[in-house]
Amino acid sequence: MKIRNLITLLTAASLAALPLMPFARAQDEAPEGEAAPTEVDTEKDTYVAVVGADIYTGTGEVLRGATMLVRSGKIRRIGYDVFIPENARVVHAAGYRVYPGMVALSASTRITDGTLSADPWSAVEDAVHGRAVTDKVADELVEDWVEEWEGDFETAQAFDEAALRSSDSYDPFSSYLVLTLAAGITSVESSNLPIKLRRDKIEDVVMGDGGLVAFNWGGADARRTVRADFEKAAAYLREFRAWEAAGDKSVKEPSRRGVNSGALRVLKGEARPKFSADGANDLLGIARLAQTFGFRPVIDGCREGWIVADELGRAGVTAIVQPRERRAKDEMMVGPAGSSIENAAILHKAGVQVAVKAMNGNVDLSGIAGRDILALALDAGFAVRGGMSDAAALQSVTLVPARILGVDHRIGSLEIGKDADFLITDGDLLHYETHVQLAFVLGEVAYDKNAELYYAHIRPQPPIKITEGIPPAEETKAAEDGESDETKGAEKAGDDSEGKDPEPKPDEPAPKPDEPTPKPEEPEPKPDEPTPKPEEPEPKPDEPAPKPEEPPTHPS
């Protein structure tokens, strides 16, 4: 069998690589049990252990029936045979799935119910208005700022200020926020700031300064200006570096006047530029600019990216797409144009990092349903429909947006050391039927489907058991489960490679006859779900059940 061979090959390879990659091993495999007891660091540390769930780490791996240990809001261990401290709160999630919390780009400020602003200039203006100043003084102040603005210290300060303001209006009890969490989103980008949707506190909700510099790419004039800005900034940087290298203090430092500070930050590698563009030609222009000046742009829109995917891939583009977008081809065009459902898949295949954003950043409870931010998972599901792999689609709403916001060291995937922002779901996160049962932010329950009234009555399930420590009766059972799961996990090793291969394999874990009633029309393939979920809801009587003798077809 092909898969068996592949697995043996993989195991051999990983064994060979083992001594070289101790960290990689520690990441995926169980940590050595003997080291654990000494790791109970302080009395103050709080532990949460999620046991028995299938953990989708968001890095491509799936660990069946594994355990994730969280210490004081950070992921401590993921794997099997994990030592669980006595004082841990244990979440018994066998039969459920664990996913990293989704990261929603371009979200409305309504979600946190406040006015967020990361625009440094408005911060500056506020500072002016805050003081009793005459026009003259104000002018001087503003001039000073224009001078000072080039420095990064001031930038940082202004962003700190903006962050402060956002937490001044943050409302963790906002019902929009609860709904957003219920949709599986644990972090949002609001006014270019990455915001964590905490429920328990208003502190530390702003995770960073966003790290994006927006450039206008609409129209020939704007494009010329951007190019000129980069040329000027590059020239300045060359002069400055030459001056620095010469070390001759008697020579005057090259003037920074007229140099676009945003372009300079980009060229220094301190920030990434962000463009909004959809047309193939516009996208090509950005790709050329990026290759000329050596930066990696973020392109919001990218509707015709599938036409120029290879060029975008070579230029190291990160694309923010809306897979459900529909735009007919302009009849005047000769070549390919317009939107394509395969956009995300094609871009991903060409090496473009693809992030998916919702059709609307708001929480919209009127109008046509499923077009607001609460349908983010559905949008990623459409990318799967267009041919993207499940793993890549998951990353398009978790890790890639986290990277765009410069906070992928904290969120976006389930890895040791990252924030414990995760979801416990009753099925594939990107499936329309799936509900988030529990959402954790920094290791604390931020959303509980049964506790909040919004979705509690829809396909109700018994609450996921959370105990203080492992009950003695279950301890042995949990250990047995762990063993059997481990063997199961080894069988499924093939899943991991799937993420890299979007092509559905015909002889792959295809649905087994014991799978409870595959839905006749599945909107997206779920190739990584070969085993039935132990707590899958019983087949509904009104659902047409497939004929038993008919071999289930693979959704492709």
Binding site: D113, F173, S174, S175, I202, E203, Y454
Partner: protein
């Protein structure tokens, strides 16, 4: 000013006694005493407008006039701790922390009599405006002069906290001013101590020349001058009183999130305060019930059943907060006489929705008295409290009840019992 007010209060309570040695006994079918729960066949002895004895089936000394009401139910006069009734509309808004609501009072209005006729015997009038609008006054709806009306001024400091930068800044600014003042006083004290030492040294030098036996006497006399800190500004004094425990605060919030922002601005500072929130549908306040209850705070609500956000599911915030351990004060829904008339009906509805009956009774009497800082004088039928009483022909929460009479400072002032 405080002295002045309390002196007037003394005169006000002394006035009825001046007319005659006022002693009488009340014999009622039932008394909702608040302090001791419900008493059947209660006897209440009132001397000079103050309750002196409360008991069940007590014998009354010969010669003491008895008011016999075997079918009546008596309870303490209703106290609305937070209202703008009888004063101008909600204008203003100049955030002057030292502004006093008592400055707006007009005695001899019809509205005071109408209020008495609803059984309301004490009011907390709060100043208009947002942010930190100023100081509220405890008032009785009777009296010919402002001084005769005012029971306590200031009764509490009114504050509002919203989840926004400006509102939080008002808070921190007020406390920063206090810090500056305290710093100034600390410096003054340092200087004073230094000067004292110097003068002591000088005295000692002088004393050495003189008789040494008298040294001790003189020293003790020299120590006599006491340190007198400079007076705080008007906008610092309320905050100073707050921190030193001489004044309470009522902090108005609009949603659960405001509570976290309040904790954020308060930081390490500690002072006594009550939370107030207007109840409305879709309010998310239940999220903080547990936390507020754990701290044993008092909350001021209006007797309203609200709907859970986004649903038609009814929730009773007063009951939930009371269950969580918070103290509860209930004010009428609006600043109208009608709302005061409906007040007990609405509270009665809360009781039918699961609020404990005794807690409901406290919420319109003793708890609002505590909000006004008059918890030891009003709000309960107990020895030593002012005889502000309301008489009904049946249970106070029965919508069919009839108000028989209202007693203010031991005198019937309204109702059919009025002599």
């Amino acid at each position: 000013m405080k002295l002045f007010a309390s002196a007037l209060l003394a005169i006000a309570t002394a006035l009825p006694s001046a007319a005659a040695q006022d002693v009488f006994a009340l014999r009622v079918g039932r008394a909702e005493t608040i302090g001791q729960g419900t008493l059947d066949h209660a006897v209440i002895l009132v001397e000079n407008g103050v309750i002196t004895v409360v008991g069940q089936d007590l014998p009354v000394e010969r010669g003491i006039p008895i008011i016999d009401l075997p079918d009546a139910v008596v309870m303490p006069g209703l106290i609305n701790c937070r209202t703008r009734i009888g004063v101008d509309g909600r204008g203003g808004g100049g955030a002057d922390i030292a502004a006093r609501a008592s400055a707006e009072l007009y005695p001899r209005q019809d509205v005071w009599e109408e209020l008495l006729a609803t059984g309301t015997t004490t009011l907390g009038i709060y100043p208009p405006g947002n942010g930190i609008p100023g100081l509220a006054a405890a008032v009785r709806p009777a009296g010919d002069t402002v001084a005769a009306m005012v029971l306590k001024d200031p009764a509490y400091l009114q504050l509002y906290l919203r989840s926004d930068r400006g509102s939080k800044k008002l808070f921190t600014d007020a406390f920063e001013k206090l810090d500056k003042y305290l710093e100034k006083v600390a410096k003054e004290r340092e200087k004073f101590d230094k000067d004292n030492e110097k003068s002591k040294d000088k005295d000692k030098d002088k004393d050495k020349d003189k008789d040494k036996d008298k040294d001790k006497d003189k020293d003790s006399k020299k120590n006599a001058p006491e340190f007198k800190p400079s007076q705080p500004d008007d906008d610092v004094r309320p905050v100073l009183d707050l921190i030193t425990g001489r004044l309470r605060a009522v902090i108005g919030i609009r949603k659960a999130g405001d509570w976290l922002h309040l904790l954020d601005v308060m930081g390490e500072r500690k002072f006594e305060f009550d939370l107030q929130c207007d109840l409305r549908d879709d309010l998310d306040l239940f999220y903080i019930a547990e936390e507020v209850g754990k701290r044993g705070l008092r909350v001021i609500f209006d007797p309203t059943i609200i709907q859970h956000p986004g649903t038609r599911r009814e929730r009773s915030m007063p009951a939930e907060f009371a269950k969580a351990g918070a103290k509860l004060a209930l004010s009428p829904r609006s600043d109208s006489v009608e709302a005061h008339r409906d007040w007990l009906n609405q509270v009665g509805e809360l009781v039918r929705y699961g609020l404990d009956r005794q807690i409901a009774l406290r919420a319109v009497t003793l708890e609002p008295a505590h909000v006004l800082g008059l918890g030891d004088k009003l709000g309960s039928i107990e020895a030593g409290r002012t005889a502000n009483l309301v008489f009904f022909d049946r249970d106070p929460f029965d919508p069919a009840r009839r108000l028989l009479g209202v007693m203010l400072d031991g005198r019937f002032v309204s109702g059919e019992l009025l002599p």
